[in-house]
Symmetry: C2
Subunit: 267 residues, 2 copies
Amino acid sequence: MNTFEAPADDVIETALALADIARESTLRYFRRPLDIHRKADRTPVTQADRETERAMRALIEARHPAHGIVGEEFGTRKAQSAWTWILDPIDGTKSFVSGKPLFGSLVSLVHDATPVIGVIEIPCQSERWVGVRGRATTYNGAPCRVSAVEALDDAVLLATTPDMFDDADWAVFQRVSRAARARAFGTDCYGYGLVAAGFSDVVMEADLEPYDYMALVPVIEGAGGTITDWDGAPLTMRSGGQVLASATTALHDEIVAAIADARRAAP
Amino acid sequence: MNTFEAPADDVIETALALADIARESTLRYFRRPLDIHRKADRTPVTQADRETERAMRALIEARHPAHGIVGEEFGTRKAQSAWTWILDPIDGTKSFVSGKPLFGSLVSLVHDATPVIGVIEIPCQSERWVGVRGRATTYNGAPCRVSAVEALDDAVLLATTPDMFDDADWAVFQRVSRAARARAFGTDCYGYGLVAAGFSDVVMEADLEPYDYMALVPVIEGAGGTITDWDGAPLTMRSGGQVLASATTALHDEIVAAIADARRAAP
């Protein structure tokens, strides 16, 4: 493990305040008629997304003017800062526009390259996971812990959608996930919370951006789990978007090996 | 429309009481360690499923001893009765075992071949849709209405999982669903509630059993929507398991035609 600067109480407070802003702001728009814009990639992006990120950025700029910010909607500010906030006001925009109450808001604080705070806030559910590097992850204020599942054929495996996999990744995902006890879809960031709380055992996804996964790292690790890319390498701002989170190291190692096997087996 | 015998108040009360039983019983088990059995098809089946269906059947047998019952877990009773209750205590067992709070309980009353009552109960969410043939569907007690979306490229389309489609159905589903404005997965019966309430616009699924879809018919129709098989034919106890629910007839007709086109285009 790298040495790292432990986050001080004031930045933890900011992270929680950002999650509060996200909850209140997104709920004002949820299940209400929206002026839905379209990005080039056809992801539905909502007024809620933009307005929420704007309010979150304003809080950071007021409290921590020297810190950097990376947001899905409004790009990067002060990229050279040692401390950078990474924001995703609505993780699961397709859930949001369909009225599914499991979309989340993600807040992360990265020190140099290391995510030291991560918050998964689920506005509709009043559920929140808070990960702070070096501490136990909390779920609604109480410490939580991953499951003890050590084998893929005992594991419940989650992913958001087949649409996140290109053809090669889909072939690998199919082969690996079909070896699980059960697989289920449609989870967005909520799936990582389910793993951190011990309700599910694995999330295997691809095509994620840093604002989708950096917050997940302290949450999963602080709950005793393992989260890396599909090769078992730590997630960084430059990872390729493949993410694997597992309850136990035995389970994680089995899946990383199964991924490597599946790639070799591919045509 | 066929003539039909309107359900009397006492059977509507029974339907609501069955949903209450399902909510209370399933929540006792949700996110708790389970003795998970496996059926031959590897669907996880839980103690909760069996215990809940047992309690629901006991209520029907006490209140309506002449009525038939079809349940997922304990089979069929009095198949020749004009009135038959169709029960699915946990629709979305994979959601249930993964800790996702969107699993549902389904209650339907069928008179001869026509579903005349349908209840979609979402225990974790305190959300309930009640459809009674000839009346407006209610969502948490208030009348609800489908959206006005008339074109697939404006529609949000839902499905539970790619695992419900065989190769031919998957090819058709891919072609049709990719023409929607957005598609999202992981909804189980909740998706039909989202369409009935006007939050989403289409659900397109396959491999469903009568206990998965009969309750949906009065809910969708009473909210102003259309629900049929993929050919546009009414759903019956003998339908093949392909289900299509749409907010408007224009949208439904467009999708039924797109399905026929996609089938012709298939290799």
